[in-house]
Symmetry: C2
Subunit: 212 residues, 2 copies
């Protein structure tokens, strides 16, 4: 029986370090497939279509939703965001784990989907709100107004921490990275993630038979 | 809210390396409390009462069962075995994790008890049946008859591997030890195992309040 991959969901308020951590996980394990979200918002400077996001029109997005082509989708700040279903299904059916960098709404939808038995959800909390603010400012990529918008949205995101399997406080990014690797390594050792063990136990049973 | 400890159950057929692994885990983390089983069988050479087992009489054992003083108990090869409840409750209520070296019957009873939300069960499989046999012989502590009895019981134990959260094939003891540590470290990062996070999120909420 082939292994089905895990859907590994990382959520956090913006500024808590989620993107850095997702990048480190991908560098650590090249078999980890990143789920590229589709969005109707305009690309920011430096963002690459098909890599950071799939940038699509509103009608194209809505058509994909109508065709049941999104694993989850939501509207945030007037723009649509969603996780296209096809690449995720292809990956997990070939045994690859998929990493999602999505918010609580998406996490909830995937955690309640037919794939829920394969979901591993992790929430990253900031050490403090002043530190979250400092990190958003230090990125140097957003206006004061955008930063304030993100700060306002932060509590909404944090307030859903109770719906996740694992919760980490990202005080030190190296520690949090190590914790994420530990969690993923452990989850891959779950019985439900090791269908090849059925064959191993069948071999053991045959070896017992040979003894008698 | 104080953390409640985990009940970490290790099961395997005898000879698969469980006792060695349990010893290594205790050396790794001195906060891990070992659940010493009670038994009505006679002590073997070198076994210390209160350390390897609590050696008790049949009436004393039955009285403890009657008083609901056993977390699990079973009869194996005509002897009673059980896990006394009081030391386990005291440990987990003070936030310490407890390690159990018990068979599938005990694992099933604890996994169906009122403590089931805090159970972490791990099954250790041997790489092969000839290797299991070789390991039992190489211990040099049992007669051929006792070894054959253990071998007969092995399949009964292995056949229950499907009831465990995690399953490891103990091909190399160092690898299996590392995997056990990874699993325990990860499980301690579960949201349900970190009730102190409620306070952290309350602090974050207060810091949001201070901003407005």
């Amino acid at each position: 029986m082939p292994r089905r991959g895990l859907l590994i969901i990382l959520s956090s308020p913006s500024g808590a370090g989620k993107s850095t951590l997702a990048g480190r996980l991908r560098a650590w394990d090249s078999t980890l497939q990143f789920s590229v979200s589709a969005t109707t918002r305009a690309p920011r400077e430096g963002e690459v279509d098909g890599q950071d996001y799939f940038f699509v029109s509103v009608p194209a997005f809505q058509a994909q939703v109508a065709e049941d082509g999104m694993l989850e989708h939501a509207q945030v700040f007037g723009n649509y965001y969603g996780s296209p279903k096809a690449p995720v299904k292809a990956a997990i059916e070939s045994g690859r784990d998929v990493l999602f960098d999505i918010d609580w709404q998406g996490a909830q939808q995937i955690s309640n989907s037919t794939l829920k038995d394969h979901v591993l959800s992790i929430f990253i909390l900031p050490p403090s709100i002043p530190e979250l603010h400092r990190r958003l400012i230090s990125r140097g990529q957003d206006s004061a107004e955008v930063i304030e918008g993100r700060m306002q949205k932060s509590w909404d995101e944090i307030s859903h921490w109770g719906g996740y399997d694992y919760v980490l406080v990202n005080d030190d990014v190296d520690t949090t990275e190590a914790q994420l690797k530990t969690i993923i390594t452990a989850e891959r050792l779950r019985r439900s993630q090791q269908p090849q063990l059925v064959d191993h136990v069948r071999d053991l049973q045959a070896q017992f038979g040979d003894r008698t």
